[in-house]
């Protein structure tokens, strides 16, 4: 422990060099800029900057990358909240309550809880990374396909909470998402499914395109058709742009729970930061005292997912630094950045390149602080975006939405797909069908399928594999409890009353 702290102190010495701080600022600024754009994420940005960074010192470059990573997460949340257009897949869950808060004039507190929650989660996760990385990674390695499948089942049962007011319509939306998840090449056999010979469909439906189509395009169509001629009565800025005492009281627990959910998910290669954000959302919805407020802008629904996505991105560094295993696209690019410098992550990294590792870890702490001090003052400016007249605001949203879809394959086919999702979103909105379950179906469906089939292939078709392995069995039992316990409790209450 003392050794770790001494190494960390040394790391701060490296990272706090003025030039490195400057790179940190550049990274956070750039990251926020690309996070705002759907379709352009931190992975792509860092990939494009790789050639430039060969001219930088490794520590400076790594600090900049960490800044881009964090900045992008925050930038993505900003557009999720203000414009209903998630810039990153990890911020889709934020859109659900965040944009509702913005609509009710509470964009300021939503952005603030997101920034502070990201800071809290990022810092706590970095502490966990500093102290426990080697132990955590051994645990993460015990997860194989059977365990992942059990996790997916748990995720499904937990997020059932976001199905909304009507079970029939919630399940309809879920089945849309699951159906869309079938599109593309089947990973285990290479068989194309429901791609209709369109090459752009072979890689499957991108979740950001679906989210942007359902939320941004669908919403724009709906607003134009049903509210564009209403006077702009919605109060755009109600109350303070800062968080009230009550907002703090309602936010801090979700921040901590979000961190606890996000960090472990980041350490396993099981599909990125989307799952923990939705899990956190569902958890907050279940636990919230003001449950009625969910769907109308509950701050817990922003605080939790925002903490979860930041904790998850830090969690991804655990297997990356200790074993050289990338668990996300961005982590994979950071790994190739390491290789450009001739540095190989892995168990030896901590000994051979301790300057770099501890400099990087210190820079994560610093990056979180930079993010906070850069973004809190900017909230006032961001919120002003909402005072742009409606015609121009929605026009701008659609320019960004189409840009994001187009840049996936540089192809107009993706614009057609986006428009089709916009029409679907419009129809769902008109029929009071919630859109969140469709997105969850698209994320979880393919993951559950692939892990299920992998587990069964390894066990040669023996389905008891899910119950023989202790971790998988435990997780499945928890999943069952999530469904059964509330049901039994409800039944008991009714019997008592009768």
């Amino acid at each position: 422990m003392a050794e770790t702290l001494a190494a960390l102190a040394h790391g701060f010495g490296v990272a706090l060099a003025p030039i490195n701080l400057l790179w940190g600022f550049v990274g956070v600024t750039l990251g926020t800029a690309v996070g705002v754009l759907p379709g352009v994420g931190p992975a792509l940005t860092i990939a494009m900057l790789l050639p430039l960074t060969t001219k930088l010192e490794p520590v400076g470059a790594m600090i900049m990358f960490a800044g881009i990573y964090y900045g992008a997460m925050f930038g993505g949340s900003t557009t999720s909240i203000l414009l209903n257009t998630p810039g990153e897949s990890a911020t889709i869950a934020t859109t659900l309550e965040g944009n509702q808060m913005a609509k009710r004039g509470r964009a300021g507190p939503a952005l603030a809880t997101s920034a502070i929650g990201s800071f809290v989660a990022g810092t706590l996760a970095t502490v966990a990374l500093t102290l426990l990385a080697p132990q955590i990674v051994e645990l993460a390695l015990m997860f194989g396909p059977a365990e992942y499948f059990a996790l997916m089942v748990l995720a499904f049962t937990t997020v059932a909470a976001v199905l909304g007011g009507s079970a029939a319509r919630g399940l309809t939306s879920l089945s849309f998402g699951l159906a869309l998840g079938l599109v593309g090449i089947d990973g285990q056999t290479g068989q194309a499914r429901f791609a209709f010979g369109v090459p752009e469909l072979l890689d499957g439906i991108d979740v950001v395109v679906l989210a942007v189509g359902l939320f941004a395009v669908g919403e724009t169509l709906y607003m134009a058709a049903y509210t564009s001629r209403m006077p702009e009565t919605l109060e755009k800025l109600a109350g303070s742009i800062w968080m009230s005492k009550r907002d703090w009281a309602r936010s801090w627990k979700p921040w901590l729970r979000g961190t606890a959910i996000g960090f472990p998910f980041g350490t396993i290669p099981a599909g990125g930061a989307e799952i923990p954000t939705f899990l956190s959302y569902a958890t907050e919805r279940r636990l919230a005292r003001e449950r009625d407020e969910f769907g109308k802008g509950a701050i817990e629904g922003v605080a939790g997912p925002e903490a979860a996505n930041n904790a998850s991105s830090t969690g991804a560094l655990v297997p990356l630094l200790t074993l050289g295993i990338p668990t996300s696209a961005t982590a994979a690019i950071i790994l190739s950045a390491f290789q450009q410098y001739g540095i190989s992550p892995g168990p030896l990294l901590f000994q051979m390149q301790s300057d770099l590792v501890w400099g990087l870890i210190a820079s994560l702490y610093i990056g979180n602080v930079i993010l906070l001090i850069l973004n809190l003052p900017l909230i006032g400016m961001w919120v002003k975006l909402l005072t742009i007249p409606r015609p121009l605001l929605y026009a701008g949203i659609l320019v960004f939405a189409t840009l994001g879809a187009y840049s996936l394959h540089q192809s107009a086919v993706d614009l057609a797909i986006l428009y089709a999702f916009g029409l679907l979103g419009f129809a769902m909105r008109s029929f009071d069908i919630p859109v969140a379950p469709a997105i969850i179906g698209l994320i979880l469906g393919p993951l559950a399928e692939v892990q299920f089939r992998r587990a069964l292939a390894i066990s040669e078709g023996d389905p008891t594999v899910f119950f023989r392995q202790p971790i998988a069995a435990t997780v499945l039992a928890v999943a069952a409890a999530v469904v059964v316990v509330p049901f039994v409790l409800g039944l008991a209450r009714r019997l008592k009353r009768a």
Partner: protein
């Protein structure tokens, strides 16, 4: 006489059933050999199509027995909205379709400016020239950020030899 809403709900429900049937047909065309796992590429589609047909039938049942449950008010005014405006819907759609058709030919900047102007028009703006100018400026900034700072290609437009 059944209400307009009830007829719409029934139609939607049958569309969902039709989607499920379509999935089932597509599934039948897929190979089902699953190798060692015993679960082939057609297993999941079969599950999803069955599920879709079931929820579609559920929606139809609700529609035919008093309508879907817990809907928002049918009268737009009660929802704080006005009646459906086909022209507004059409302007936004036209902008998206025009961009789709023109992005290769006219390039990202011009097609996005056009999209911008169409959407603004859909929201009731009457200042088409001003809107187009703002759209143009926004698209130019994005274009240069992408092509210069990120070196990600965006179409310059074949009209201009791009």
């Amino acid at each position: 006489m059944r209400s307009r809403r009830s007829r719409q709900e029934t139609a939607f429900a049958f569309a969902v059933v039709a989607l499920g049937v379509g999935l089932a047909i597509g599934t039948a065309l897929l190979p089902s050999e699953g190798g060692y796992s015993g679960i082939g590429p057609s297993f999941m589609p079969a599950m999803v199509s069955a599920g879709t047909i079931i929820v579609g039938a559920w929606l139809a049942f609700e529609a035919l027995t008093g309508g879907w449950r817990n809907r928002s008010p049918e009268d737009p005014a009660a929802r704080g909205e006005h009646a459906f405006l086909p022209a507004a819907f059409a302007w936004v759609s036209a902008g998206l379709l025009a961009q789709m058709a023109l992005i290769g030919l006219a390039g990202f900047v011009l097609s996005s400016a056009l999209l911008f102007a169409c959407v603004a028009r859909g929201f009731g703006s009457r200042r088409a020239l001003r809107d187009a100018a703002i759209g143009l400026a926004l698209a130019l900034v994005v274009y240069f950020f992408f092509t210069r700072a990120l070196s990600v290609n965006l179409p310059a437009g074949r009209l201009f030899g791009g």
